[in-house]
Point group: C2
Chain length 424, copies 2
């Protein structure tokens, strides 16, 4: 609990927001509903956070007022190898200099598809899109086409996209949009069984996230029992097990996030990190759903755009052949250990959960996130961009000195909490 | 009717497909369901057409086997000013060198939003996405949010995207996905009135395409009576008139495709040509739906990607300040006149419909498109990329000599039809 209420909203006593950012927000408010939309809307962030950014290099970001941050969000996932990764950007530029958006794909689409089919353990084929939501929606539609059935089992509160069938908001959504969704609790085999019973003979798919990464709560890795139960149930019903790997894909395992469990989905949805920030999504599926996928009508004006595919191929070659994932794990462990030590020194308890390279930091007794916001605001001013509620993301560009700089900033965050009367 | 049945499938007597394209198709068939998906799938095209492309410059395209074409499809719309337009590509590169996909948008998002609000007659605000389908879906969701009602009136056979609520295919679609769609016939006020009556007190929106551009049939510009009736009905019900300007936007009028009619929608959906081939979509709306749009949860991993916004700003500056649209009209008229003359010379009647810069060419007595395919195959071999069923697209990069080259290729197309016994 924060004892000094004047700063409990996370606002710092003095105004810190940059003048250029403030001007842009005022202008945006006139020409964009609410000034910004979706997950990048700074209105949902602590008060000091900038809305607009000027530049990215490696794991560093500069806002429009020239302030530099060690970035722990990586654009909410897409930046896997760091901003302006040479190999990736050169692959993009080389393809762009030839042809980008044409009357059909470039040869690189086939090379990328072959690479992913080789790399992703369960994949016999891939299809490309632009948004993570395109990929999850395609998986669900293919599952219905392939089974002739309708029910989709999804975990309560899991994020699978931002269109009416799966959006976290019900604004503008009709009840029919979710008529065939049945909810279970992640990692809860009993609740999965209840949902299965409810689906009767109409089960098209079980949809699972790579791990439980709901906003504002502890992250949970899937238990082996849960993963195996989901796989067995889908197999028994000849339905699809769909792995939503949009958020975690290529950060945990290059071959699919459930490879460590030895449980393979029928289809998985990828986006975010697939091309190190260039816009691309993909569905990777097995032969059980190849025919269904070929019968769907799914398309988009830019889905065959060649340069992001070249960037994805370069990104995946780096991920598969190098130590990018092991490095992110090492950096994540360094961050986690450092935060744990700072927390103990300050006598302020935190809960760090989930994979270390996708860190989540929550404060105890902090239902209104006042502590989280105060911490984040102070850390931001000290040069690190943390998130108070959402899981964060590390990249292969983070080096020990970046993590240490983030930890210095975190120390300022704990200090601000101590000054506000939190802890001993 | 084609009298020589051996070539009525559009296949040329000798094999013409390039060896590299054929190899890539064979490889793609192993790793992509059906070898390709969606509107860029060459399986739906005449037999000589390549699937894979290597290079684009201005209005010219090169396939992977090095064959050069005057392109009349412009990537199905996105290429508005020609491939590799200097001003657009430089704007993209400049922004990309600073920051692309970051934790928030760059300043260019505000500049682009301000520019579009100034440029598009009905727009008080804009929101950005990646796919045309994202934009139409956002319009429909915002209309439901803003009215608290559910029914959407859409023209029968109109294309509004490739997700279950609007896809041209029913594969993988449930009846609930379209529970609140009511269909009318484009340009038919009486059928619109019937649909309105059916919607009762539950009308959220009337969705209209900029003009009737259904595949395989004559294009129809909207009648003033139809446009005014749709506007009046939406106004009377306090519902949204949504203009789907994804396909036609920025080719007919920089301020919105219904500006020539003096009829303004509440929201319009843009994508395709907005950034000359870079991936971007937008919804432009008026103040009636600003609050609704601000309450939606709509987002995507790459929707704030800055370089395509810089490219869009450059593209729109060229469109608004220059004579790009007038030039496309002049080139379209030159093509239409030339095709008409060739058709008369050959005694083979064609129907050319719609805006000249989005040409549609259909042959009389050609329900199976055998004539269209034969014509297109011969024209392709002579160096021009026509489409036998879909509307085509001209760009501001087409010059009189390009149109004349396309007409020479078309002459080869008419010749092939004559040899096959079509005409006098």
């Amino acid at each position: 609990m924060i004892k000094n209420p004047s700063i409990s909203n996370g606002a710092s006593p003095d105004a810190w927001n940059g003048p250029i950012d403030a001007q842009l927000r005022a202008r945006a408010l006139r020409v964009v509903p609410g000034g910004m939309w979706g997950h990048l809307n700074a209105a949902a962030l602590p008060s000091n956070y900038p809305q607009f950014f000027a530049r990215g290099e490696g794991c560093r970001l500069w806002d429009v007022d020239g302030r530099e941050y060690v970035d722990l969000m990586c654009s909410w996932g897409p930046i896997l190898l760091g901003h302006h990764h040479d190999e990736v950007d050169q692959a993009y530029a080389k393809q762009a200099a030839a042809g980008a958006c044409m009357n059909g794909p470039a040869a690189v689409m086939v090379e990328l598809a072959e690479h992913l089919v080789d790399q992703i353990a369960h994949a016999d084929w891939v299809q490309f899109q632009k948004n993570g939501t395109d990929a999850t929606t395609t998986c669900v539609t293919a599952a219905r086409a392939g089974t002739g059935r309708r029910k989709i089992l999804a975990a309560r509160s899991a994020y699978h996209g931002a269109v009416p069938w799966c959006s976290p908001s019900l604004v503008g959504v009709t009840s029919e949009d979710r008529a065939h969704l049945i909810y279970y609790d992640y990692n809860d085999v009993e609740s999965l069984n209840v949902a299965l019973a409810e689906s009767g003979n109409d089960l098209a798919a079980i949809l699972v996230s790579a791990f439980r990464h709901d906003i504002g709560r502890e992250q949970e890795l899937p238990t082996l029992a849960f993963a195996q139960a989901a796989r067995a149930a889908a197999t028994a019903a000849d339905a699809a097990l769909i792995l939503d790997d949009v958020r975690a894909g290529f950060r945990l395992h290059s071959g699919g996030s459930w490879e460590t469990l030895g449980v393979r989905p029928d289809m998985s949805a990828y986006s975010k990190a697939i091309a190190n920030g260039y816009p691309l999504a993909a569905v990777a599926g097995n032969d059980r759903f190849r025919d269904a996928a070929s019968r769907l009508y799914v398309t988009g004006s830019f889905w065959c755009e060649a340069p992001p595919m070249a960037a994805a191929l370069a990104t995946q070659r780096v991920v598969q052949s190098g130590n990018a994932i092991a490095h992110m794990e090492a950096m994540g462990q360094r961050l986690r250990d450092g935060l744990q030590a700072l927390s103990q020194q300050a006598g302020i308890s935190i809960r760090q959960t989930g994979p270390v390279q996708m860190p989540s930091v929550l404060f105890d007794d902090d239902a209104d996130v006042a502590k989280g916001r105060l911490f984040c605001n102070a850390a931001l001013r000290a040069g690190a961009y943390f998130h108070p509620r959402h899981n964060m993301f590390l990249s292969a560009a983070h080096q020990p000195e970046d993590i240490d700089r983030a930890l210095s900033a975190a120390a300022a965050g704990f200090e601000a909490l101590t000054e506000a009367g939190v802890g001993r």
